[in-house]
Amino acid sequence: MEALSPTMEEGRVVKWHKRDGDPVKTGETLAEVETDKAVMDLVARADGVLRQVAAAEGQTVAVGSVVAVIVSPGEAVGAVPAAAAPATPSGSGKREAGNVATVTAPAPVAVTPLPVAAAAEATRVKASPLARRMAKEAGVDLKLVTGSGPGGRVVKKDLERAPSPGASAAPTATAGATFPVSRVPFPERTGAAYDDVPLTQIRKTIAKRLAASLGPIPHFFLTTEVDMERASEAREALNKQLGDQGGGKVSFNDIIIKATAHALTKHPACNAWFQEDHIRYWHEVHIGMAVAVEDGLITPVIRNAERKSLADIGREAKELAERARSRRLQPSEYTGSTFSVSNLGMFDIDQFTAVINPPEAGIIAVGSIVQKPVVVDGQLTPRRRMRITMSCDHRVIDGATGAAFLKTLKQMLENPLAMLL
């Protein structure tokens, strides 16, 4: 199992594209693998014949363990020693390593079949009876616990330090217009008061990442209310024109991304990464856009957003969001953002605070656009208004610095022509 994302520790085999005995060529897709972020292709690294498919579809396998063997045509394969034992180094060892549950095709004569007992042994989670009982009572999936006992056996102390299944991400955000239906089941009552659903890869990553944010990072929050009358007018005009040209429409979120990117070029102090012993101030603006996906969220990145046209941003955002929802993003497409935008406007959220996506120093949380009575030039008038809250990492951004950026952003949104300056 290759590491298919920078933070991947294990992968779930979603689908095998090749079967035992199939000829394969370097670069050909062998299987689809769900990592902690996305569904990725596991490709052949050599020409030959696929043998000893040792991880069944649906199985989670540790990075570094054997999922199959590529042999030269006619070459015999011995038992795969690594398949029976966790091949990962200590710390990330998973008991499901090298599962041999279903060999998808009958083993040819040349192949030494893995003993049945070894297969059963490999698919089994090893845990002491006490650990099993504790896991059941606590609703912990033993497959997700690293065992410290002999042969990776999960024992009492491993459960005492295992994360509880309730640990999950703080509310962050979404940008897309449609919001996917949660995969978390709400089944008919069967008598049980609750269901314990194991953390998926993405939710584990969310939990880890966000817990590394709000706790350790000294957040502070700045809120401002933006008049969106002109932006709304500009959007209507633009969309009319784009519609006439047969292009896609521009959303408020696209405008906000564009304005944010532009404002960041004026305030590079907010376009930065905190790097423990230094702060990296970026000369490019890569906007991470929080997208809700089934069972989690991910922030695909619009690169060099400060240099892209609104139409380009719109197209790219739409395309990235769609692929995020189908779990088809490449790691390069969701890493490396310098600042993030999170939008819950479509849920009628007036205002909220977002959790910083480290190592970035800031994120803005965008609320819904609502008509409000506002005093303009001494007259009470209905205006479309929107609240923006910026979360700042105080180690990088001070109050006045953040406020100055937010003021520029507000001005750009209130007068979209300012973006041309």
Binding site: S128, P129, L130, A131, R132, R133, S148, G149, P150, V155, K156, K157
Partner: protein, 327 residues
């Protein structure tokens, strides 16, 4: 409370029970004039006379049989074997008569008899005279088997054994007779079938009996010193019946167990204890239960080899480290 040796605690139990019940009598090799090979019966001939303190020829099967007959006739004999190694000769009377008669008489004829004597190895008595018969005897339905580790338990269990209406085996030890400890005066009865926590602990249970209680206590101290781990020492005291509740209760607290016994590993008492644990405390176990026993060989005469063959505190600590996942 008086401090007595194990042998004097047994002596006290015998004296008190003989004073209490004129049907109780002691019979065996050298119990009278010689005052007992290990002086357990010191002073008894003088006090109770030759009708109740009976010296026998060297004929274990014979006097064990006389004892069974006396019990059938309504007396309460205490049969002393100079060692349980010699009692092998009397096994037919113990197993086929004493243990069976109540059953074969359809409950009409109880056999209130005690067979007692030192069991297991002492020092350099070699292969034929260094054997622990615990599991042989505990195997037999119709017998009760007790194995006291302390003077107080020796007194309390022997008294209970004498008053019991079934054949009771009392396993003592040459190396225990000099052990000193506080012994309650007078009516001190230890119920048969009740284990005793000799040292409370949190992390692992040492299940032991007889001479291995001292081994376990020493190991518990070393474990605390070297690893900071806390071992509970559970003294079974009775091998039949076994105190399942105490065994399961302790394992439920500590989640790990090492079972220690003087006998050989194959089909030993520890195997029976482990059976109880895996059956009744399965969900409590955090590690496989390990056993520390005598090496699976006839006891060597060589002093160093004998030391290595016997269960030791070092071996118990090593087993504890494994069940605690410290290795």
């Amino acid at each position: 409370m008086a401090t007595l040796t194990y042998r004097d605690a047994l002596n006290q139990a015998l004296r008190e029970e003989m004073q209490r019940d004129p049907d109780v009598f002691l019979m065996g090799e050298e119990v009278g004039v010689y005052q007992g090979a290990y002086k357990v019966s010191r002073g008894l001939l003088e006090e109770f006379g030759p009708k109740r303190i009976v010296d026998t020829p060297i004929a274990e099967l014979g006097f064990a049989g006389i004892g069974v007959g006396a019990a059938m006739a309504g007396l309460r004999p205490v049969i002393e074997f100079m060692t349980w190694n010699f009692a092998v000769l009397a096994l037919d009377q113990i197993v086929n008569s004493a243990a069976k008669i109540l059953y074969e008489s359809a409950g009409q004829i109880p056999i209130p008899i005690v067979f007692r004597g030192p069991n297991g190895a002492a020092l350099q008595l070699a292969a034929q005279h260094s054997q622990a018969w615990d599991s042989w005897l505990a195997h037999i339905p119709g017998l009760k088997v007790v194995a006291p580790a302390t003077p107080a338990d020796a007194k309390g269990l022997l008294k209970s054994a004498i008053r019991d209406n079934n054949p009771v085996i009392v396993l003592e030890g040459e190396m225990l007779y000099n052990l000193k400890g506080e012994v309650p005066e007078g009516e001190h009865l230890v119920p048969i079938g009740r284990a005793d926590v000799k040292r409370p602990g949190r992390d692992v249970t040492f299940i032991c009996h007889s001479k291995t209680v001292a081994v376990a206590l020493k190991a518990a101290e070393q474990l605390a010193e070297r690893e900071g781990a806390s071992a509970e020492v559970l003294d079974l005291r009775s091998l039949r019946p076994l105190d399942e509740e105490a065994i399961v209760g302790s394992v439920a607290r500590t989640h790990r167990a090492v079972v220690i016994e003087e006998g050989w590993p194959h089909a030993g008492i520890g195997a029976q204890v482990v059976d109880i644990i895996q059956r009744e405390a399965f969900d409590q176990l955090d590690a496989p239960v390990l056993r520390v026993t005598q090496a699976d060989v006839p006891m060597p005469y060589n002093k160093q080899l004998e030391r290595l063959a016997k269960p030791s505190a070092d071996r118990v600590v090593a087993a504890a480290r494994r069940v605690l996942y410290l290795d």
